[in-house]
């Protein structure tokens, strides 16, 4: 008994040490990255954290509830523009971010329901087409809402968006703390990290709850789910709203981080990119989705180094560097899907070889 307890404690202690180590590593990461790879990569890390939030939001819709959404970036756009309109010189409104950010989330969540309501009867390909259209509609609206009344400033976008600030403390300034110089990209890293960790926690808790099981049931068999007593309409709307809320928060943070938004940032390709992160990482598995988001943010950036290599190795440029980069990126996606069709880190539910099957 005492032996058992001590092994339990040892295992617990080891787990705590592992978590503490990971936390330290994540906190030190921006400084390590800057020292090793340069400042540009700290910015990429910031973007990766935003994409983690986005991918986790889309994972609720696609991975948990099984509703294919090809217009997800629209909620990111709604969140970003909500923030931009309420904290910029556009209408000279400068509300504090603690108000604007939840508001962006709420507006995006509302748009989630707006998209969800008319598509309740649709599944699979049909749903994909409608959501794709929805995503484009939002972008086109943002692009054209500058006449007759100028709301979004059209293709020029909205500039001079307020950074995250409280009183005289602003994340847009460089601070010194305990001998460390903390530039805005470092400060934002910590804010985004906190939000990403929160998103992971919320995702995990939702997955293993009554709500998460209802979503999984709808994904597996909607009719059986309804007959078992699940209000499929409400649960699907909830999935859309929750997913959109994640996107809205990420959008608001994005707007404050960039200080600038334009419809250019919210193309269909961006929706597809987020979907790739979910599918490639491992649909429905929170860890896999996080991995997918990090990899697919870093990979295109890493491939930028390939262009100069061409010149160095062959003394000539065969393929335009930006074309080559996308070619290799596409190749990497194809290879990953061929080698690991269930994703890099599949959810327990989707794994083809099941432990229980081996046991039974």
């Amino acid at each position: 008994m005492s032996n058992f307890l001590s092994t339990l404690q040892a295992r617990d202690a080891r787990r705590w040490i592992a978590w503490a180590g990971l936390a330290l590593l994540l906190l030190a990461a921006p400084f390590l990255i800057e020292a090793l790879l340069g400042r540009a990569w700290v910015r990429i890390a910031d973007v990766a954290l935003l994409f983690i939030m986005l991918a986790l939001g889309l994972n609720i819709v696609v991975g948990f509830a099984g509703l294919l959404d090809l217009g997800y970036i629209a909620f990111f756009a709604v969140g970003a523009y909500s923030y931009a309109l309420l904290a910029s010189p556009q209408f000279d409104i400068h509300w504090p971010f603690l108000v604007v950010l939840p508001l962006s989330a709420a507006v995006a969540g509302f748009f989630g329901i707006l998209l969800g309501a008319p598509t309740l009867r649709l599944r699979g390909d049909y749903l994909a087409i409608v959501t794709l259209g929805f995503g484009e509609i939002i972008r086109v609206f943002l692009n054209n809402l500058n006449r007759p009344f100028n709301i979004t400033n059209g293709p020029q976008g909205i500039t001079l968006i307020d950074p995250l600030q409280a009183g005289s403390f602003s994340l847009a300034q460089t601070h010194t703390f305990a001998g460390l110089t903390i530039t805005p990209i470092h400060s934002y890293y910590f804010v985004f990290l906190a939000c990403a960790v929160l998103s992971i926690l919320i995702s995990l808790r939702l997955e293993n709850s009554r709500i998460g099981r209802a979503w999984a049931a709808i994904r597996d068999d909607e009719l059986a789910a309804a007959s078992t007593g699940i209000n499929t309409r409400n649960m699907k709307l909830l999935a859309f709203a929750m997913g959109a809320t994640f996107g809205g928060v990420a959008g608001g943070l994005f707007a404050s981080f960039q200080g600038f938004v334009s419809p250019e940032s919210f193309h269909l390709l961006d929706s597809i990119m987020v979907l790739c992160m979910v599918v490639l990482g491992g649909m429905g598995n929170v860890g896999g989705v996080v991995l997918g988001a990090v990899l697919l943010t870093a990979l295109p950036e890493a491939l930028r180094y390939i262009g100069p290599l061409q010149q160095r190795w062959f003394d000539t440029v065969f393929v335009d560097p930006s074309d080559l980069r996308m070619l290799l990126f596409g190749l990497a996606l194809v290879l990953m899907m061929l080698l690991r069709p269930e994703g890099l880190w599949p959810s327990r539910r989707r794994r083809t070889v099941e432990k229980s099957r081996a046991a039974g």
């Binding site: 597996d220 059986a224 309804a226 699940i230 499929t232 229980s356 039974g360």
Partner: protein, 261 residues
């Protein structure tokens, strides 16, 4: 033994349903009494499953009325019907394939539990207690249906007979007063059917009324207290199994009319 109170639990009156020009059901009435096992039989295409689908809210009837324990069910959506206390299984098994057997039964508790998003995210004490109760009840029901050893197996990977019983366990998790079973013995061998029969008798003894579509005549005749026969969307007979079996219309529906007569 039927309980003393055998007043009607479910009564469907004058149910009709058309698909295009085809009358799947015309003016069918059926009564299921509290505490009984009611058999619903008929040749293929007689409209038995259509009646089940109307009963559980998947289709709305074109005409007719459904009363369940004093509540009108007509036009209610499936999840509302489940909340009223009717659970069902499907002819072609419809489990949540990617979930474990335990999780399948846990989903069945959905309609009797309340945790929402906030409860799940903040893991309130109420949610934790509720979640524990769900797991406990799900294990009980797996035990009850003889699936204890299968709890952690993925539903899709279970043998056929286990899948059938898992569907029953999931249906029971909704605390039904009426359990509607669509061909539970289909594809089962004699041993499996024997186990199933015991299970169904146990369920009834525990106070759940059963409505049973079944092609295995021996099973349905030995289990049922009353039997209703459908043919071409019409009710052609009802009553005690022994009487129904002798009914000339039923014999004709199953064997065809005697060409000599």
């Amino acid at each position: 033994m039927l309980p003393a109170d055998n007043s009607p639990l479910l009564s469907a009156t004058g149910i009709s349903k058309h698909f295009g020009g085809l009358a799947a059901l015309s003016d069918v009435s059926i009564t299921v009494r509290r505490g009984e096992i009611c058999g619903l039989i008929g040749p293929n295409g007689a409209g038995k499953t259509t009646l089940f689908n109307i009963l559980t809210g998947i289709y709305a009837p074109d005409a007719g009325e459904l009363m369940f324990d004093g509540v009108c069910l007509t036009g209610l959506q499936p999840h509302r019907v489940a909340a009223c206390g009717i659970a069902r299984t499907f002819q072609n098994i419809r489990l949540f394939g990617s979930m474990t057997a335990l999780e399948n039964v846990m989903v069945g508790r959905h309609v009797r539990t309340h945790a929402g998003v906030l409860g799940a995210v903040f893991r309130t004490r109420k949610t934790v207690t509720e979640e524990r109760a769900i797991v406990r009840r799900a294990h009980e029901l797996l035990d009850y249906c003889g699936l204890t050893a299968r709890a952690d197996h993925r539903a899709r990977d279970l043998p056929y007979g286990d899948q059938r019983r898992l569907e029953i366990a999931r249906a029971l998790a909704t605390d039904p007063r009426l359990l509607a079973l669509d061909e539970p013995a289909a594809g089962m061998n004699a041993t499996e059917t024997g186990v199933l029969k015991q299970l169904l008798e146990q369920i009834r003894a525990d106070g759940v009324t059963l409505l049973l579509i079944e092609h295995d005549m021996k099973l349905v005749m030995s289990l049922s207290h009353s039997v209703t026969v459908l043919d071409y969307g019409e009710k052609i007979a009802e009553g005690e199994p022994a009487a129904v079996r002798r009914d000339p219309k039923v014999v004709e529906a199953y064997l065809g009319s005697d060409p000599a007569s």
